[in-house]
Structures are given as structure tokens and as C-alpha cells.
């Protein structure tokens, strides 16, 4: 795919990613979010945070499996939209649920495990969003940047826990998201294991070759 093609893909993705926000803003305006629009809004922003997080994590497996290297260039935008929807999700809680009552918010964060988990996930997202531009990658160095951005795996798990602890009894939805996350993390673990074996086999092969070389002169 040409740079121009990727540019077009990015523009389309950007507009599509604003779709959920547009839908909720419009529905809120039209009062068509049901009897409890604030709850619908908060949940909606949370759902979309999780969906963008999973989409971000799906880029690499998709790129490799489908053989479409240019997909990798869409990953940053998806990651930033994860942060964008997470910020809106948090804002609805701070604004509508607590109305910026900071002592109550602090108490909530300390006392309610599902809120503790949610806020933890958000705090862990902050450094990733802050180092999402090219200059940050250069300054950190590719290796350290990659290591930092691996936090997203932990954030994904914490986000699922946050959802799981929030529901009253019907865990079907968090279970589905959890299974998708497990698949996306599982394929990485599997690839890593394959890579480790390949390297081990490679090292073994080299050792054997070395042994042959050292043994040969004795004959």
C-alpha cells in the first residue's frame, strides 16, 4: 500500500472512530438513550474504550496473519482513541456520578475495587498516550519505548476485571470481551514460545556444529 493509500485509510478510520461519540452525543441530545441516559452514556463510553483497546491489540496479529504490513501504521490512532474514550468514560463518572466531589471520589477509588481497577487502568494509559508521538519514541529509544508500551497487556486485563467486578450477576458480556482479550494475548504468547524454540533450536544446531568442528581434528 502506498503512503497515499495509508493516508486515506487513516482518514477513514479517524472518521469512523468518531462515530460512537457522534451517536451518543446525538442520542443524548434527542433524549433517545432510554430511561437512564447518564448510565447509558457512561456504559457506552466504557464499552467503546474496551472495543478500541481490543482493536489496537488486534492490529499486530491481523497484520502478520493477513500479511498486510501497512495495518501497523493504523495502530497508534486506535491506541489514542482507546485513551480518548477512556477519558470520556472517566469524565462521565467524575461529572455526572460524583459532580466533582473530590473527597467522595477519593473514597470511592480507595473503597470500591471495580473503581480502583478502572482508575488504575486509566493511570497506566496516561504514559502511553504521552509517549505516542515520534519524538518520544526517538527520545526513549525503540527498545525502551516498546517495553513501556507492553503495559497495554496489563491494562487490558485490568479493564476486563473492572467490567467483571461492576456487573451484578450476569457476567456474559465481560466474559466475551475477556475471551477476545485472551485470544489476542494468547497468540502473542504462542508466537513468543515459537520464537524461543526456534532460537533454542538454532543455538543447539550451532553448538552441535561447533562440537563437530572441535571433534573432527581429533580423528
Amino acid at each position: 500500500m502506498t503512503d497515499r493509500g495509508v493516508g486515506v485509510a487513516k482518514t477513514i478510520l479517524f472518521l469512523l472512530s468518531l462515530g460512537p461519540l457522534a451517536y451518543y452525543a446525538w442520542s443524548f441530545q434527542q433524549d433517545s438513550l432510554g430511561a437512564n441516559p447518564i448510565e447509558a452514556l457512561t456504559r457506552g463510553m466504557g464499552d467503546w474504550t474496551l472495543r478500541f483497546l481490543l482493536l489496537t491489540l488486534a492490529v499486530t496479529p491481523l497484520r502478520k496473519l493477513a500479511g498486510l504490513p501497512w495495518l501497523g501504521r493504523l495502530r497508534r490512532m486506535l491506541g489514542l482513541f482507546t485513551f480518548f474514550y477512556a477519558s470520556l468514560h472517566l469524565a462521565t463518572y467524575l461529572w455526572f456520578d460524583q459532580f466533582f466531589d473530590w473527597p467522595a471520589i477519593a473514597k470511592d477509588i480507595l473503597k470500591r475495587p471495580f473503581i480502583t481497577a478502572g482508575v488504575t487502568a486509566y493511570c497506566l494509559l496516561l504514559p502511553l498516550a504521552a509517549t505516542s508521538f515520534n519524538a518520544a519514541i526517538r527520545r526513549l529509544g525503540a527498545r525502551r519505548w516498546r517495553e513501556l508500551h507492553r503495559t497495554i497487556y496489563a491494562i487490558g486485563i485490568i479493564a476486563i476485571v473492572h467490567f467483571w467486578w461492576m456487573v451484578k450477576i450476569d457476567t456474559r458480556e465481560p466474559l466475551i470481551y475477556g475471551l477476545v482479550l485472551a485470544a489476542l494475548l494468547g497468540i502473542r504468547i504462542w508466537w513468543r514460545e515459537q520464537e524461543r524454540r526456534r532460537q533454542e533450536a538454532g543455538a543447539y544446531g550451532r553448538n552441535m556444529a561447533a562440537r563437530v568442528i572441535t571433534i573432527t581434528p581429533r580423528r
Partner: protein, 307 residues
């Protein structure tokens, strides 16, 4: 004037009748206006006299929210699921069995239960354990009227309520979301309290199926799940009965489940609630604002322990 032009005296509407008709027209117009859409859609109306002494003067939550945003886990866990699926509930014929520690165990047809007392309209607050609330104009009569029919024995201390199970029309029952049939319970003195209402309707009409047709409870000082829906059996016992939510989460839901802003659900605060239709949360009141009427039921009890 020619005498033949005048109508005969027999045809003249008396002043009294004329005024009665005007009064009737006014009442009918008022009744139709107050019912709004439901009457236009041909729903079955249910007459009741307003019981102002037991009613809040707060504005009732709009009909669409009262009948469109429900927890009725037999039909699924989404708030919209009951309105979506409950129309398939078979609410006729319906009978209700009263047994256990009573002198005269009985099974009554719903039609006979409805005739036991005059219907009253009571506007109650309803506070859900999840942190939202509404105001509902219920129609019914005190639960005590029905309970007295079977003459409870002196050792009867509790009553349990069992809800209907119709797996073929109840997606939540097929998914085993809770331990079915749904079980709720009250202490006998709570059940006999004049505020505990046996409900047959709301908003001037027969109870919509998603709200627990054909009969349910409204126990306004307790969290919503204590008000069992679509009741088929009432048992009198000497021991505290098992209830579905306590079985599902013994650390999260208690037998009493009185609305209490000071005792939090382990996972969320109960200090505030969102009244449907409002943006910001409002403070939750002790016993949902019914402390004056029901507070004495719990004197000397540690409400943190008996949550």
C-alpha cells in the same frame, strides 16, 4: 308560543341530571387525560381511589420509564429485556397458593384475590439497589388483607414469596441467572405493615407484564428486588426464608435490604441515587424516606449486621 313546539315534560333533562352529566364528562376527560397513551392504545384500565395519606407528592416518573426500564431477571438482565420479552408471560389463568404455618391454607384465583378489598392508588418511591430510583403510582391494597385470609398461626414469623417460572417464555430462567424460582421474603410484621402493598396495577391500568403481572409487591422502604413480581405462592414459616439474591451473593445482599444510605453495597456506595429523569444524583433517604412509618420495626437492631 305554540304549546306543541315545546317538548313534553318527560323529555326535559332535569337540572340535576344535566349537572351530573357535566360532572361525568369532566371526570371522564380527566381520567382519560391522566391515563394518556395507555387508554388510547386500548389497555385495560383499573379504577382506584387515591390514598393520599400513603402517597408522596413527588412527580411520578413518566409511564414510558416505569414500564420500559425494569429489573425482572426472569426475562434477562438488561433493563430493556422485560419490556422486550414479558409480553409472552401467561398471566391468565392465575392462582396463588397460601400455605405453611396457617390455619386455613388456600389457593385463590387472581379474580378472587382482586375482590378482597377496594383498590387504592398509592404513589410510592422505588429505590433500586443499583443506585437509581423512580416514583410509581401503584394500584392495589395492603398485603395484610390477603395474609389475614389464611389466619397465620402464632409461630409463623416470616413469609416467603415465590414468583412464577415459565421457562419457555423466560430467557433469564433458561440461562440460570439466579436460582429459580425467584424467592423473596419478609418478616411477618413487615409484611403486615400498612405500607406493604399488594399491587395489581399502575398508572390507572392493569399491571403491565414487565412490571410483574398479574400481582406483585411494593415494599417501598426496601430495595426494589424485595418486591417480588408475578407471585404464585406465599408461605408462612417460623424461620427466615432463603431468598434468591442472598443465595446469589450472601456478602452483597441481605435478607432485610432496607434502603440505608449509611450501609454501602460492598461494591458501590448507597449514599446517593439517580432519580430517573434527573441528571445529577440526589441523597438517598433512610428507609427510602419512610423512616417515620417503619423505623419502629427495627428498634434495637444493628442495621449494619442485619443489612
Amino acid at each position: 308560543m305554540n304549546k306543541s313546539d315545546q317538548p313534553p315534560p318527560s323529555e326535559i333533562t332535569s337540572r340535576a341530571t344535566f349537572e351530573r352529566r357535566r360532572e361525568f364528562m369532566r371526570l371522564a376527560a380527566g381520567a382519560i387525560a391522566s391515563l394518556g397513551l395507555p387508554t388510547a392504545q386500548g389497555k385495560e384500565s383499573l379504577a382506584a381511589k387515591p390514598a393520599t395519606a400513603y402517597s408522596t407528592t413527588e412527580a411520578p416518573t413518566p409511564y414510558a420509564h416505569v414500564t420500559g426500564y425494569n429489573n425482572f431477571y426472569e426475562f434477562g438482565s438488561d433493563k430493556e429485556d422485560p419490556a422486550r420479552y414479558a409480553s409472552a408471560l401467561r398471566s391468565r389463568p392465575w392462582s396463588i397458593t397460601l400455605d405453611g404455618l396457617v390455619k386455613r391454607p388456600r389457593t385463590l384465583a387472581i379474580e378472587d384475590v382482586q375482590r378482597l378489598a377496594a383498590m387504592e392508588e398509592r404513589v410510592y418511591r422505588l429505590r433500586c439497589v443499583e443506585g437509581w430510583s423512580m416514583v410509581v403510582p401503584w394500584i392495589g391494597f395492603p398485603l395484610s388483607v390477603l395474609l389475614k385470609q389464611v389466619e397465620p398461626m402464632t409461630d409463623a414469623k416470616y413469609v416467603s414469596f415465590e414468583s412464577a417460572v415459565q421457562p419457555d417464555v423466560m430467557p433469564g430462567v433458561r440461562r440460570k441467572l439466579l436460582d429459580w424460582p425467584y424467592q423473596e421474603g419478609l418478616r411477618l410484621d413487615e409484611a403486615m405493615h400498612p405500607l406493604a402493598l399488594l399491587v395489581f396495577g399502575l398508572y390507572g391500568e392493569v399491571l403491565p407484564k414487565q412490571n410483574g403481572a398479574p400481582l406483585r409487591l411494593a415494599v417501598p422502604w426496601k430495595y426494589g428486588f424485595k418486591s417480588a413480581k408475578s407471585i404464585v405462592r406465599i408461605r408462612f414459616t417460623d424461620r427466615q426464608p432463603n431468598t434468591s439474591w442472598v443465595t446469589a451473593g450472601p456478602t452483597e445482599y441481605g435478607f432485610y435490604s432496607n434502603v440505608n444510605p449509611e450501609v454501602d453495597h460492598p461494591r458501590w456506595s448507597q449514599a446517593k441515587e439517580r432519580r430517573l429523569g434527573e441528571i445529577l444524583k440526589r441523597p438517598t433517604l433512610m428507609f427510602n424516606g419512610y423512616a417515620e412509618q417503619v423505623g419502629q420495626l427495627y428498634t434495637g437492631m444493628d442495621l449494619r449486621r442485619f443489612f
